[in-house]
């Protein structure tokens, strides 16, 4: 398997009036070609900053160190215009909030055309009209849009004319979400990043979106960010768990889900496995403050199995069987549970 994306020692900070926020602290991450990686973690753990940094859209945050090697090129060293060529054409993003990610002033058809125009012109400015997204109404154009929409099971809506002429507010959330996926696919990206693709959806659209994603991950590299564990389970081959700006556990999906090693992963996963009548399980304590995070392992104040060393030393990444975990419980020479 060929490595498509390799992130090494990525540090991203935000300078705020309250102090410096360390949103990503030494991220190491690898995605193989044609693999689907799921990225899990609670809100505020740095997931969003991580994938925005992959596209270099993390402003006002700054990448202070580390490298992001995509297909042999270090993205942190590219110029802005080179980066624009990568966005959409190499790495495409499906934004999380489908209710704001489409421009309310234009119809769906105009916005799909725009995705194509951006791809073909590279954002070239003066080839089209000054205002509006009228686009090229050419046959080839239409065909391409139709093909992609057909793949996303929206072909019927196109044929009956109930999609392309509509404004975003006239569509349901599930359809908007798939339109966003279509916009991302029109750039023929090598890798697709889906940011919480199922979070803002109702039950039925969620299933449809998952089916679509499932079909897509058979033919392309994907990075799915979610705290919807079912979504991760049904689509991903490998998963990575983030906490406090670090990746604390990565490994094959099945082995992480069946045998989570890091105490945080264990608690995180248990939150979804409860039956009726049980007390709702939770990870006690608050989400980590990334300005003054604790010394040592960032999880130790909330960890049920914290040891003295946890508050002193930051745990190194250790390989245990087929997974990587950053926890003192598995440090060499220590006894494990």
């Amino acid at each position: 398997m060929k490595e498509l994306l390799k992130v090494t020692g990525l540090n991203v900070v935000f300078d705020t009036p309250a102090g410096r926020v360390h949103a990503n602290r030494g991220i190491n991450l690898m995605v193989n070609e044609n693999e689907t990686l799921g990225l899990m973690g609670e809100s505020g753990c740095g997931k969003t900053v991580l994938f925005l940094s992959l596209l270099r859209l993390q402003q006002p945050g700054r990448i202070v160190s580390g490298s992001i090697v995509f297909d042999g090129r270090d993205l942190t060293k590219l110029t802005t215009s080179e980066m624009q060529q990568v966005r959409g054409r190499q790495i495409a993003l499906v934004p999380q909030d489908h209710s704001t990610a489409l421009n309310p002033a234009f119809t769906v058809g105009q916005q799909l055309n725009e995705a194509l125009l951006v791809r073909d012109n590279g954002g070239g400015l003066w080839k089209t009209s000054l205002i509006g997204c009228s686009g090229r109404g050419s046959q080839a154009f239409q065909e391409e849009v139709k093909a992609v929409l057909g793949e996303l099971a929206l072909g019927d809506l196109v044929d009956t004319g109930r999609l392309l002429g509509r404004y975003p507010h006239q569509l349901s959330g599930g359809i908007r979400q798939r339109v966003l996926i279509a916009m991302a696919l029109l750039g023929h990206p090598r890798m697709l990043i889906a940011d919480e693709p199922t979070t803002a959806l109702d039950r039925a659209s969620r299933v449809q979106t998952l089916e679509v994603l499932n079909r897509l991950c058979e033919r392309m590299t994907m990075l799915i960010i979610s705290h919807d564990l079912d979504a991760i389970r049904t689509t991903c081959e490998r998963v990575a768990v983030m906490y406090g700006g670090r990746i604390i556990e990565t490994g094959p999906m099945l082995s992480v889900f069946r045998n989570p090693r890091h105490p945080y992963t264990r608690l995180f996963l248990s939150c979804q496995k409860f039956s009726r009548g049980d007390v709702l399980p939770e990870v006690t304590g608050d989400v980590l403050n990334l300005i003054d995070f604790p010394l040592g392992c960032s999880f130790h104040p909330r960890c049920p199995r914290a040891m003295p060393v946890c508050s002193e030393l930051e745990p190194a990444e250790v390989h245990v069987d087929d997974t990587m975990v950053a926890c003192h419980l598995y440090a060499t020479g220590e006894t494990t549970c």
Binding site: Q84, R87, T100, V118, C133
Partner: protein, 280 residues
């Protein structure tokens, strides 16, 4: 065009405004054909309104009704040209400042603040005196001095648009800054620009009338401000010759009223939240 029509649909005040403005524009355009007499031709002075001179004649015997029709041309022309200039300037400054933020924003907004705190009429008088009396100089002065408020309004709107989800997703598609500005930011401020444009026409017309009244307009050209000036200087007010000073004054007032009505209705249509505020 369909969208424009949609924006224009609606209440009576709006239609009254549009009707009045269209009437004024028609008068201005058709002045050479509908004016009964040549407004530059001298004749018997100080005539009262009659069937030949609908609004009487002025101090040198020019027909006031014809003057009024020809005056509409220059007043409207200066109004629209100056508004076009100032709104374009304001839009560019606002778009760039809001979108780029940082030091460019600080510089542009600093300049805007300087223009905003300066009293406009004295400044306009000063500049017009330097440039000399002509219609185009008036247009230039008004256009170049009136952009700051537009720039402010547009900038604040752009600041909110640039953080929106669709701008973010356009960036993720690989769109450049210019592309985003043109395709996403500009279309979303067009209704605001339209409202601002119409309102600026009104302000520019008022400004033109003020400057002309003070004697800074072209003394030969016919405009409503100039008519008022001569009525004031040559005893129209003192002598109670209402048919001399009332028509141009009323024309200016009605024209500004109609423009304001249109501007409000565009603003209301583009931001329905305003409607509730206005009805309260």
């Amino acid at each position: 065009m369909a969208r424009l029509r949609q924006v224009m649909q609606g209440n009576k005040a709006r239609w009254a405004g549009i009707a009045m403005l269209v009437l004024f524009i028609l008068c201005a355009m058709l002045a050479p054909w509908i004016a009964p007499l040549d407004p530059w031709e001298f004749g018997p002075a100080f005539l009262r309104p009659s069937t030949t001179n609908l609004l009487g004649t002025n101090d040198v015997g020019q027909d006031i009704f014809s003057e009024l029709l020809y005056g509409a041309r220059n007043s409207l022309l200066v109004g629209f040209a100056a508004a076009l200039l100032s709104v374009s300037l304001g839009a560019i400054v606002g778009l760039v400042a809001g979108f780029r933020k940082g030091i460019l924003d600080d510089l542009l907004m600093g300049a805007t603040d300087v223009f905003l705190v300066m009293p406009m009429l004295p400044l306009a008088i000063l500049v017009s005196v330097y440039l000399g009396p002509s219609i185009w100089n008036l247009t230039l002065v008004i256009g170049l001095l009136w952009w700051p408020s537009t720039a402010r309004v547009i900038r604040s709107q752009v600041l909110s648009i640039r953080e929106s989800g669709y701008v973010e997703s356009a960036r993720a598609l690989g769109a450049s800054d210019l592309w985003i500005m043109r395709r996403h930011v500009l279309p979303n401020v067009v209704p605001l620009l339209m409202a601002k444009f119409v309102l600026t026409v009104a302000v520019a017309m008022l400004m033109e009338a003020s400057l002309s009244f003070l004697g800074l307009g072209d003394p030969i050209a016919k405009s409503w401000g100039m008519m008022l000036r001569y009525a004031f200087l040559r005893g129209g007010f003192v002598g109670g010759l209402w048919w001399w000073y009332a028509p141009p004054g009323l024309a200016i007032g009605l024209c500004i009223l109609s423009l304001t009505l249109i501007s409000f209705s565009i603003e209301e249509k583009s931001d329905p939240r305003l409607k509730r505020v206005l009805e309260r």
